[in-house]
């Protein structure tokens, strides 16, 4: 029987008390597809709302810390590190966001990385939607996870 089930199959926050705290790491990516001209303007800093990349990065980092408020069954985790990199690929008309989160805890931090990447992507959308409403946030996914019983995971490309 799954450890996630309450006495009647109800949803509940999983009990992690028995797990020892270990070093955890999660890395997620999100890609934002846009029109070529939007990517070019972003690359040369010529966008109507200035400081787009810094705003997205900061929004992602702040959102990572609020993961347990957003995702109902997530445990509160004291993150020891969060970083977000944004790569503007003009040729592909796409921005790739890579978010990493780390903690020494009883449970994994993959959701923190997923939330950080998603919110950074949504912020990019918000800052650029005035010039390109049809942008798409595509492929938010976990690419790496380490620590915990399930061992190291790395997504094959």
């Amino acid at each position: 029987l799954s450890s996630h089930l309450g006495p009647r199959g109800d949803v509940r926050m999983v009990d992690v008390a028995e797990k020892p705290p270990t070093q955890r790491r999660g890395v997620a990516v999100a890609r934002v597809r846009m029109r070529p001209e939007t990517a070019s303007r972003l690359a040369r800093g010529d966008t109507p709302k200035g400081e787009v990349l810094a705003t997205a990065r900061i929004a992602g980092i702040m959102a990572a810390k609020r993961t347990p408020e957003l995702i109902p069954m997530c445990h509160a985790i004291a993150l020891t590190h969060v970083a977000i990199a944004l790569d503007v690929d003009e040729a592909a008309a796409r921005v790739t966001i890579t978010a990493s989160a780390e903690a020494t805890d009883r449970t994994g931090v993959e959701m923190e990385a997923m939330v950080a990447a998603s919110v950074a992507a949504l912020t990019l959308y918000d800052m650029l939607k005035g010039i390109d409403r049809e942008m798409v946030v595509e492929d938010v996914m976990l690419v790496e996870k380490s620590g915990g019983r399930s061992g190291h995971f790395r997504r094959s490309p």
Copy 2:
């Protein structure tokens, strides 16, 4: 010159005081791709963390209300309506989340719809990652927007 630029091109929250409050509506979708078996188990309610769909729906609705806390330049908006529908497509091994947000306000609610769809998708990921870590949140995008100066927008499929 763009109305979004401060005296020195710094980021700032756009001034919307001059816009009249009108009826606004935004609809966004997010798709979560998963293994066929995961979709089947979800469709028949046989998942380790029970109540997956209700949890995702509630998480999305609650997140919509917190959009201005997550997206730095978003204005606080008193939403009059939020709804989230989840469609489990076993054949395609994919869940489609449709989030709609409405308000009578000076600014649009597309970010509220985008945030609601994204957080519902991330919650789905969280509730199912124990059985399928390689799920991908793909294609978070605005599909409809009405109200405001820019007129009606509907994304061509």
Copy 3:
């Protein structure tokens, strides 16, 4: 068919766009039953964590403003007034908390009053539990509601 049901009976935040904004008021009470000695000490300000009543009052007012973050289907409402009165009844060994909330909005504020009364009561419990762990928060209930289609409601004692 109920207006609260989505296409498939799913939970959703009710659409209130059609309702006109009117003056709304809600009043709720909560009672905290305690040992006679606890009530006496509270009445004469002889409690280990000082400023108990002020802390409960402030906690209740602050919680009222966060109602839509706590109660999933509540709309964000710009409250125009919140007040909390605490009445220490030594003879009955009970504190009665009365919370009132007001707004000019499309939907009622009874949940804001209920949340304010409950959180003030829980704060009282927290501040006094060191000397009386068996206190009970009893009878959190709406006693008055005005504004909106359903007309004036006053609970018969």
Copy 4:
């Protein structure tokens, strides 16, 4: 002299640095009294806002995590487990909510259990108030507490 008093008797967050982290557990209940017909409709899922029980459960779990934001003097605690059970007693026209919270920490988690039970009860009220405005949240109380210096506590029924 109480350790909770500041130099002048002012309220302050108690110093828990000297306490060793131990396994903590708190269990609280809340009862919601309603009209018999309301309980019957809830029991057979025939309510206007569907998914009432899941919404209450999720709201309670999410609120437990936000206890230190609501209760002014509560310490932030990394909960290892939260669960909420709702029991609909048609005969008694009453729902009993049992909330348990656990952590490995320097201070107790009884407030987290009390907040979870209260917010689940308030959410039940919110979801059902359209059909039964006179429901009463009664008897929010701690029923069990373990861990820490004060030893095991179990409320006699």
Copy 5:
């Protein structure tokens, strides 16, 4: 008698229902005094935590929106505009932060401007404390206020 007093002189959130919504504006400044070398490094972007000014600006804007969560008796206000300017004065070894907030509401937005200026200043401190722990946030003050019964206020320099 003051309108801010409850029946027994208790604190409460002032009733603003009778005030008509008008255009409100508040401007506050904060000054951060630092060592000359710190100001020089900040001016030429040579600081260990890069993007200091953007981070401070974004933090201030986001904090303005959360004013009612921080300042207990503040009403929730839907801000129509927030902007923050930072001026690095190398000669004076000081950064001046100017925060403006606007809304169409029943109550003033001076606290929103004060909170924005303060949090931007604190963020500056956080980003630079590794190289200059003795920085001082000095002179957080309201410099302009318009809208509402009290008329236009402008601080004499």
Copy 6:
């Protein structure tokens, strides 16, 4: 090279995983300068919004716990103790706020003390601005810090 820089100099939350948890303490002060009559009224409790000092104290303590939500690069820290003292100096027409924060953690708590002092000062301003709009929050600064590699710091007066 600074440990705070990402691959491209972008802002990120510093990695503290390698630091051992130690006992940390930070003390900050804020001074609020006001008109002599305001200080006198505050000292004798004759102010229009009653319970000013308790409200400021509670607001400061609650804000300390929310530091990582306000200051973008701050880590979440489980504070073991927070206290705020307010000293009303009628002769100097000034209130001095002293905030102390403590934790057993990998990183310092000086920002928690700075935020607590600032928000208590801003709350004082909010509660008294009706009678003295020209109050100034001056000299928010760290006066003591202990724990961590950088050793004990005490500001010379």
